[in-house]
């Protein structure tokens, strides 16, 4: 006989005036290779059709299904029930605005973030359709992609002590994004310009170094390395601007 799994799931529908935040309990029999994706869909189709949660690719690629699984932010699609105890508690990610039950609004948060950090290549060059592409070393291309792998699931933000205390903290995901453009030779921004974006307590100097962001990142991105890289770079930029040397007045 397979295990009986007891799910405790956070419930609240802000659009229903009668709804109050509470936990609901559902029991399912475990099947082979069961993931939370399978379990939650079965609960919705067999037990409570109003249950809200987000999945899209269900393959660990898109980052839709971030939630707090037995106390830890993670992707529900690649969380196997056999790795969990028979009692499973699911809560929505904190920090992001709640849509309902386990569903949160990460889209608005991330859109605001990438507008703040101007998450695009800043270049004065015009594209010429008749010309050969601009060359790049393959090592550089691969290094950029390593940082580009973030899926914006929001787990790092939800696990971040600073982000929980202050709304305006950019978080590891934004700093990783900035680092991606710093190493991209196509982006013409200077260190001083990056400093304007992240050289403050909302950015690189707000991090308390608790390391949870990297612990929970489902893509295993080297978030702490990027924080250290940027902090060093921004620290040097700050010192340079104190002495306002000529060479750094680009």
């Amino acid at each position: 006989m397979a295990r009986l799994l007891k799910f405790n799931i956070f419930r609240y529908n802000p659009q229903n005036p009668e709804s109050v935040p509470h936990m609901d309990e559902f029991v399912l029999e475990e099947t082979d290779s069961m993931t939370l994706f399978i379990a939650l869909n079965r609960i919705r189709e067999e037990k409570d059709s109003s249950l809200q949660f987000d999945f899209c690719c269900r393959a660990g690629i898109c980052g839709s299904c971030g939630m707090v699984i037995n106390g830890r932010p993670g992707l529900a699609c690649h969380t196997k029930t056999k790795d969990l105890p028979s009692e499973i508690t699911l809560l929505p990610l904190p920090v992001f605005r709640l849509v309902g039950d386990l569903s949160v609004d990460t889209g608005s948060w991330f859109r605001e973030m990438y507008n703040k950090v101007e998450s695009w290549v800043h270049t004065s060059k015009q594209f010429d359709p008749a010309a050969e592409e601009e060359r790049m070393e393959n090592d550089v291309a691969e290094a950029i992609y390593e940082l580009d792998r973030c899926v914006e699931c929001g787990c790092c933000v939800s696990a971040c002590g600073t982000a929980r205390m202050r709304d305006d903290f950019l978080g590891a995901v934004a700093l990783n994004r900035v680092a991606r453009f710093v190493i991209d030779p196509r982006d013409e921004r200077t260190d001083k310009e990056y400093y304007e974006i992240v050289g403050n307590d909302n950015g690189i100097f707000g991090c308390m170094g608790l390391l949870a962001c990297e612990d929970v990142c489902p893509k295993h991105l080297p978030l702490q390395d990027q924080l250290a890289f940027l902090r060093r770079k921004m620290g040097i930029t700050a010192i340079k601007s104190l002495f306002s040397c000529k060479s750094c007045k680009k």
Binding site: T31, I38, D54, C56, C57, C62, V99, Y114, R186
Partner: protein, 629 residues
């Protein structure tokens, strides 16, 4: 109720939609993309392999050109494609890849010198030229004469989507995420925008636009087993079908992939078999060599999928709570190979199945993968039947894929077609004057409110939406799968007609308040069954085998009678069958129909055309061997 005006409304914010919106933004027009999910979660992000474009920078791509790419694409389509479109695509793809590089895509680049590569399990060596150092490189893909697939490690779709979305943010193109278009607003043959449900609050909104575009990807979720994301449910198609005026093209052309994992149908790459992996049955015995003595597991996607399904039907499948499946065995490749060359496969198996492929078998089954059919458009991306309506990407039947799509051509199509159609939309909007008739808008909104209140109140019945959906998927899966025949398709059509009756009587079990997911499912179930009927009924009528459409009772490709495209309309909402019409597959035949160069097949030639020798019997086999070299 909120009404939002924009020059260009794009339904869908994946690569095709955002790429088109960029053209609008660059031209100084306002553009809004609607998306079920945050834009960067679109299914485009899941594409790993790459994008075909004849840049010819890599050693194995030398001598490549848009002409060769065009020929591969037409052959791949089994001559079902529009050759003008295939030409346009092949010519534009290299420019588009360079443009993406300019915007920030970190394409893998040519590294000069010697390197090794594997083919058919054997090792070979190639030498990259010094003068090409740093140019965009390419990898090999099936069905192509040259290495032509540009890539970003194993995350091409992800990387390109992030870059394109960045460009949208830079240009001020808005993305309204967690919104769903539930109906198009149209009058007297002109499209004016859409009625949209907010998936955060459940409220209805009206979006009015000079041009509207459907870029919602595929509709694989009408099948029970698919590699498609859960958002690939055909919402955009349904909005078009429900106008009664817009036809779907070639809905019977559905591509299946041999190795989706069980239970969740996530894809494991063809590379497993390419590198020497084998398929096993319930007795852990190989079977592909019985059916295909020469190529065994390495026959083409459609062929392997067919034999796997056949073998399961013979009772040799492995029983599981999720249905019968077979095994993929890569254990003999060894730990180094599996965690190196097949890293992605290793991670999928361990993360999603808890299976260690170094020591354990991988449960797999053929799975729905790609929809060649969709909203029929002309070569400008303008939909048939409604002025001001456009479509691109997998949602569209622009028709460069015909009856079989080559790997690497779909992801490239999203951005190439998005760019071309985007520019056509800009032309259209700049020449268009639109006046919105408020009574038409009010009527469109009232109709949707009525539908919602009927569903929440159970006015039409109390059928459970998930049960109806399962019945539809099951029926389609049995009748219009990899193998098709007259009897099964007739049963399928009859069953789907009954399911359609049930879909019209769905009532909600829950309250339907807010972002209620049951209501979202209920609003599209009737349209999904109509799409399923377009697939099954179109397949029933097409009495030939072409590309992915394989009739057991009509095994030849019949160019004499079927070198044409199916157009499926749903003319009246109350109909219980689509209306089918036909048009020539291509107005130009630069490459006359012939033998594809792989797979055994019989061809009934066009009138006035000699049957090609290699297409028949034993000589066909010979040619297939030649083609493989």
């Amino acid at each position: 109720m909120q009404t939002i005006y924009t020059d260009v409304l794009v339904i869908g914010a994946g690569l095709a939609g955002e790429r088109a919106a960029i053209e609008a933004g660059q031209a100084g027009l306002s553009a809004i993309c609607l998306s079920l999910v945050p834009a960067r979660r679109s299914h485009s992000s899941a594409a790993q392999g790459g994008m075909q474009a004849a840049l010819g920078n890599s050693a194995m791509g030398e001598g490549d050109s848009p002409d060769v790419h065009f020929e591969d694409t037409v052959k791949g389509s089994d001559w079902g494609c529009d050759q003008e479109v295939a030409r346009l695509f092949a010519d534009s793809a290299p420019i588009e890849m360079r443009r993406l590089a300019h915007w920030g895509v970190p394409w893998n680049r040519v590294v000069p010198g010697k390197s090794k590569y594997f083919k058919g399990g054997k090792e070979f060596e190639k030498v990259e030229k010094d003068e090409n150092r740093g140019l965009i490189t390419a990898r090999a893909f099936g069905g192509t004469a040259k290495w032509r697939t540009c890539y970003v490690s194993d995350g091409t779709g992800h990387s390109v989507l992030f870059t394109v979305d960045n460009r949208c943010a830079q240009l001020g193109v808005e993305v309204h995420d967690k919104t769903e278009a539930i109906a198009l607003i149209h009058d007297a043959g002109v499209c004016y925008g859409a009625v949209v449900r907010c998936l955060k609050t459940g409220e209805l909104r009206v979006y009015l636009s000079k041009a509207t575009m459907i870029a919602t990807g595929g509709f694989g979720r009408i099948y029970p087993n698919t590699t498609n994301a859960v958002v690939c449910d055909g919402g955009g198609h349904i909005a078009a079908i429900n106008t009664g005026a817009v036809p779907m093209g070639n809905m019977e052309a559905v591509q299946f992939h041999p190795t989706g994992i069980v239970p969740t149908d996530i894809l494991v790459t063809e590379g497993c078999r390419g590198d020497g992996g084998t398929l096993l049955d319930v007795n852990e015995e190989r079977f592909m060599h019985i059916y295909e003595p020469e190529k065994a597991e390495l026959a083409s996607r459609d062929v392997v999928s067919r034999w796997m399904t056949h073998h399961i039907r013979e009772g040799k499948g492995v029983k599981s709570p999720y249905g019968d499946h077979l095994w993929l065995d890569i254990r003999h490749l060894g730990e180094k190979h599996i965690t190196g060359k097949l890293r992605e496969v290793y991670e999928i198996c361990t993360s999603f199945l808890g299976v260690d492929p170094i020591h354990q078998l991988i449960p797999v089954r053929p799975t729905q993968h790609y929809s060649m059919g969709g909203v029929r458009t002309n070569k400008d991306g303008a939909a048939y039947g409604l002025k001001g309506l456009f479509s691109a990407g997998e949602a569209a039947c622009w028709d460069m894929h015909g009856f079989n799509r080559l790997g690497g051509n779909s992801l490239a199509e999203t951005v190439v077609a998005g760019g071309i159609v985007g520019r056509k939309i800009v032309e259209y909007v700049k020449g268009a004057e639109v006046s919105f008739n408020s009574s038409v808008i009010d009527a469109a909104v009232a109709a949707q409110r009525q539908r919602i209140s009927d569903l929440t109140g159970g006015a039409k019945g109390k059928e459970n939406v998930y049960a109806v959906r399962a019945a539809m998927q099951d029926s389609l899966n049995r009748g219009a799968n990899i193998f098709r025949n007259d009897a099964d398709l007739k049963t399928c059509v009859a069953e789907l007609q009954e399911v359609l009756g049930r879909a019209r009587k769905v009532g909600l079990a829950s309250d339907g308040l807010g972002a209620n997911p049951e209501l979202a499912a209920a609003l599209k179930i009737e349209g999904q069954v109509k799409m399923a009927l377009m697939v099954a009924y179109g397949a029933l009528q097409r009495t030939e085998s072409r590309g992915s459409h394989n009739r057991e009772d009509y095994t030849a490709r019949n160019d004499r009678d079927w070198l044409k495209r199916t157009l499926a309309y749903w003319k009246n909402p109350g109909d219980d069958l689509p209306t089918l019409e036909y048009e020539p597959a291509s107005s130009v035949l630069d490459l006359p129909p012939g033998y594809r160069g792989y797979g055994k097949m019989d061809i009934i030639p066009m009138e006035g055309q000699e049957a090609e020798k290699p297409a028949e019997g034993a000589s066909g086999k010979k040619s297939a061997e030649k083609g493989d070299k």
